[in-house]
């Protein structure tokens, strides 16, 4: 049961134990679509983090005031508002970045992780706790995007954050920046994390 106490688990849950991408497999559309370069992944991660933080805070603040029957509609309106704000702000900061991210900024609305957190968490706990949890979840999401984005950029373009790593003769592994590459790299990371988790559990079992 969710109580109001804030523990370190409130924050770390999203980063590691229940990482939205690697454990819960939520919000896969932007995860696979925009992680073909590190900078896109970072921008997408931060935009999602902002939307998650602000919508979690607001949902938590008005959680006792919204009739249960209309809560989903209200959550979606709140999320859509913040996404529109992010959309304009990114256009104001850098048109190049905005063009690089294409339609995926608007699609944050449809990111099930954000609605999921609003429904399953923020609407049941006080604002401070919701905020801390959202921060953890958003960071976990950003880190996961960066994991994918950096590997795909290094393999697919031979660069990292736009800097050439291997010189002129590097034969770019184009498939890695294409959609299939997203699945390959995601699969690789999932394998790695599951393996780490299992090894840890086995160690704990043998030490007991």
């Amino acid at each position: 049961m969710l109580d109001d106490k804030i523990t370190s688990h409130t924050f770390w849950e999203g980063v590691w134990e229940n990482n939205p991408v690697f454990v819960m497999l939520l919000g896969m559309c932007p995860v696979l679509a925009v992680t073909n370069s590190t900078i896109n992944a970072l921008a997408m991660g931060l935009a999602t983090l902002f939307v998650l933080l602000s919508s979690s805070l607001l949902v938590s603040l008005i959680r006792n005031w919204i009739p249960k029957q209309t809560r989903i509609a209200v959550f979606i309106i709140i999320i859509a508002t913040f996404v529109t704000v992010v959309d304009y702000v990114i256009q104001a900061i850098s048109l190049d970045l905005y063009n690089a991210l294409g339609a995926f900024i608007q699609l944050i609305v449809a990111n099930c992780m954000i609605l999921g957190r609003a429904e399953a968490y923020a609407s049941k706990v006080p604002p401070a706790k919701a905020l801390i949890n959202a921060l953890g979840m958003g960071l976990g999401f950003t880190i996961a995007l960066l994991c994918l984005g950096s590997v795909r950029e290094i393999l697919g373009s031979g660069t990292l954050l736009g800097f050439d790593l291997f010189g002129e003769n590097y034969q770019q592994w184009i498939v890695m920046i294409l959609p299939p590459g997203g699945f390959f790299v995601l699969g690789g990371w999932l394998l790695l994390f599951e393996w780490l988790r299992e090894r840890k559990e086995q160690q704990e079992a043998t030490s007991e």
């Binding site: 049961m1 679509a33 925009v34 073909n36 370069s37 896109n40 005031w65 919204i66 009739p67 249960k68 029957q69 209309t70 509609a73 209200v74 309106i77 709140i78 859509a80 508002t81 529109t84 704000v85 304009y88 702000v89 256009q91 104001a92 850098s94 048109l95 063009n99 690089a100 294409g102 339609a103 049941k124 697919g156 373009s157 184009i174 920046i177 294409l178």
Partner: protein
């Protein structure tokens, strides 16, 4: 689900009025928030767009130091105003001495996901297209957007032949996009393999845009030359 679980009592039904009021209130507040952010960011976004166009115009006409926007409508040429009409907008580029050297104009064509918007530059001395810059696109990241970064593709537009036919009605050779590695004429655009549709979109944008604009502009060349930036 949670109500029955947390309180152990069945869900109490709120009045319709309360639902309507809460939804209306949230929507109105959201609308207001969006409008406020829009009003605040619009001048910044417009300025960004203007700077992007300015930078693009100066890059696609090499050696240009300044430019003047013009509008061509119904066979008349006039300096463009802030409220553009239905005519074709273009930017006449001048060098440091104020000599007319070229022009830049926006063009677009349907790409893979949406229209690809470009600005291309044209020089009068070589009668060729000297640069293409993509202003806005929604092509696949990592694939279609290679038309911006691919060095070989960009090199297509170092001097792409765009001579106007002798009778002044059209381009002498229509600009066409050809399969990667088969470019044999100076008016052909060598496509990127893997981004053929976007490559073709750029070729078509040039063909349509320059094909319509350049023959008309030639009639006003003297007027453009007399105009000092």
């Amino acid at each position: 689900m949670t109500d029955t679980q947390t309180t152990g009592q069945p869900l109490e039904k709120p009045s319709s009025l309360r639902m309507i009021v809460s939804l209306t209130l949230v929507s109105v507040l959201s609308g207001m928030a969006v409008v406020m952010v829009y009003l605040y960011t619009r001048p910044i976004i417009d300025e960004n767009k203007r700077l992007a166009i300015e930078a693009a115009v100066l890059t696609v006409i090499p050696d240009s130091a300044g430019f003047v926007p013009f509008e061509l409508e119904d066979n008349t040429l006039r300096p463009a105003t802030d409220s553009p009409g239905k005519g074709q907008l273009f930017y006449a580029g001048y060098d440091q001495q104020g000599q007319l050297i070229g022009l830049a104009a926006p063009a677009n064509a349907q790409g893979y996901a949406d229209k690809v918007y470009i600005i291309y530059g044209y020089r009068f001395d070589c009668e060729c297209i000297t640069g293409v810059k993509v202003i806005k696109h929604a092509e696949t990241p990592g694939l279609g957007d290679k038309v911006i970064t691919d060095k070989d593709f960009v090199a297509n537009f170092d001097a792409l032949d765009a001579r106007v036919a002798a009778d002044g009605s059209a381009l002498r050779n229509r600009i066409v996009t050809v399969k990667h590695g088969t470019k044999s004429n100076p008016w052909e655009v060598d496509a990127i393999s893997g981004a053929t549709i976007t490559s073709r979109a750029i070729g078509r944008a040039l063909d349509i845009g320059a094909g319509l604009l350049l023959p008309q502009v030639m009639k006003f060349r003297q007027q453009l030359e007399d105009h000092q930036p």
